[in-house]
């Protein structure tokens, strides 16, 4: 555990150092920029609240990705499943604007689950029956989902009074997930906590969860032991997609209050970084989501103050992931030493 923390810390320092060089390359003051990054992310209560708001979709996507990774199924499609979830929820919101919230919100929740889950189910079926590589299929499904979202908001779902902007009309009040008390946080955070706990219990206390973990460790042995590998793949991909779909639903309903292309900001890819940083553990995923949400919030300040391009976030995320991957070697290496003594 301590070595993991040390490696994470080392990875952060290393990627900050490289990022500082990158900033200096474009004539931005590196130290001041990093100070702005940290202050912008964690310097005030408001900033921390922003981090929590952004952490919600990242957490749900990452939880989904982590379930799939547990089974060594490489679901890179959280981005598309998130888009499909947003589309499914929006469909309900646009069709039933006049019903009360306790009908509309569960409807959106269910539809986001189905749409996101479907976007995970198809690659799973193709993998099992046609042996199609799920990495490429899920990735192509991202492009397809995002283009489909574009098609909807530029075409059939476009708000007639949007002055040509590609967006649906604003959701009615009953289709908007509300804020908790006087804070800026929405109820989505409760959904995160419940999903996280459910997944944790599932892996720790249920037979199916145990089978899943065992199959992930050694697929061949699991098949030998008669575990239903194919069905596990389906289950995992549907759950994975559904969780990302919920993230899309929350983002459309609670944060933006409508569907528009700017809903796609790469949470699905950040989720992969988070899942790996957190070693696929639901609790650590919470912490890592918060940290990488912080990176995004800090970066927004950096964009405003120093005109640093948003792509800077990709550099840092990529570097952190690479260094953590390399650092994992030292954890494994230590285990080797004990075996020998």
């Amino acid at each position: 555990m301590w070595s993991s923390c040390l490696i994470l810390f080392g990875a952060l320092v290393l990627s900050l150092a490289v990022s500082a060089i990158m900033l200096a390359l474009q004539d931005k003051p590196p130290l001041a920029a990093i100070a702005i990054l940290f202050k912008g992310a964690f310097g005030s209560l408001n900033a921390i609240q922003d981090c929590l708001i952004k952490a919600v979709p990242i957490y749900l996507c990452s939880l989904g990705v982590a379930i799939a990774f547990r089974l060594q199924i490489w679901n890179i499609g959280a981005e598309g499943q998130y888009a499909l979830g947003a589309i499914g929820a929006t469909w309900v919101a646009l069709r039933l604007p006049d019903l009360p919230w306790f009908v509309v919100i569960p409807g959106m929740l269910a539809m986001a689950f189905i749409a996101g889950g479907l976007w995970g189910l198809i690659p799973a079926v193709l993998k099992i029956h046609m042996r199609a590589n799920e990495i490429i299929v899920t990735l192509m499904f991202n492009y397809l989902a995002i283009l489909f979202l574009d098609y909807l908001v530029y075409g059939p779902w476009k708000d007639p009074v949007s002055f040509g902007f590609p967006m649906t009309r604003e959701f009615s009040a009953s289709a908007i997930v509300g804020k908790i008390g006087n804070t800026g946080l929405n109820w989505g955070i409760i959904l995160c906590i419940f999903s996280g706990m459910a997944i944790w219990i599932f892996f720790r206390y249920t037979r199916l969860g145990y089978e899943l973990k065992a199959s992930g460790e050694n697929i061949r042995a699991a098949r030998y032991a008669g575990l239903p590998y194919d069905r596990l793949v389906i289950l995992v991909m549907v759950l994975s997609g559904a969780l990302a779909g919920w993230a899309g639903f929350l983002e459309a309903s609670a944060t933006i209050n409508r569907l528009q292309p700017s809903i796609i900001v790469g949470y699905g890819y950040t989720a992969i970084v988070v899942a790996w940083l957190a070693r696929l553990n639901p609790f650590y995923i919470g912490i890592a989501s918060f940290l990488l949400a912080g990176l995004r919030v800090g970066l927004e300040n950096l964009q405003l103050d120093l005109q640093v391009p948003a792509a800077f976030g990709g550099i840092m995320e990529g570097l952190i992931l690479l260094t953590v991957l390399a650092g994992g070697f030292f954890i494994d290496y230590r285990i080797e030493l004990r075996k020998k003594s």
Partner: protein, 306 residues
Amino acid sequence: MSPELILPLLAAAVQSGTPILYATLGEIFTEKSGILNLGVEGIMMIGALAAFVTTKFSGSPVLGFLLGGCAGALLAGMHGMVCLGFQGNQVVSGLALTILGVGLADYLGTPFIGQTAPGFTMMPMPILSKIPLLGPVFFRHDPLIYTSYLIPPLMWVFFRYTRWGLGMRAVGENPRAASAGGLRVIGYRWAGILIGGYLVGFGGAYLSLAYTHLWTNGLSAGRGWIAVALVIFSFWHPGRAVVGAYLFGGVMAFQLRLQATGTYIPSSLLLMLPYALTVIVLVFSSWKGQGIEAPAALGVNIEPSE
């Protein structure tokens, strides 16, 4: 359709297939050594940017093209460091490379958005371009396309008849046996990663130097991922990669032409074509080939003790 319509479309298919071809060949080279590198998209972007910036400041597209390849190899080297040096997971490392490469290219390229650079222009091949049908389709292009014609046969000879090529295949199929036979497994895998990265970098360089002559964000638009899929489609044969790359080039060119004619089909649906086709092609070839011909040790790290 008449030949006046078909021939330009086929020529355009070759042109827009070329960056994908370079990237696919590069990834085949890497995978033959047993390393799965999913960073193709990021490596292409870095290659495209390095080539563009070099050409802009030096005025020499040839130098730009070569340095584009170098930048690709350099980024691919990080994959080598993580996977060969530190036993990191190859799938995740490749994804990290894509996130890093795309971010880096967008970030460093921001000042150049919308700017142009000198690049390669059309140079019809002296005698060959006069051949009916084949001439206009294959031999009225820029020099980078002619260069790409040479690589598949060279790779075929390399993997079939040379000592190093056979060694690399052995390392990709069974690293333990290769190591017992006295081959330096790690060295071969490094070569696979760097040379493959170099070729993928060429693919990116082609995009910015010959395909557009212009810098924009997200230049590769998923071509790197299409290349990863085409490696499976081609069953790791350089020759089949040519077929796949031109097929995709054709679809992209066709789609662009349809948009230009002002069809009533929304552009976002047209843009789906290459991605949908990737899924179809992948599913079909995986089903038909059952994945038998993948290098057996693909994606498996070698333990440090070996």
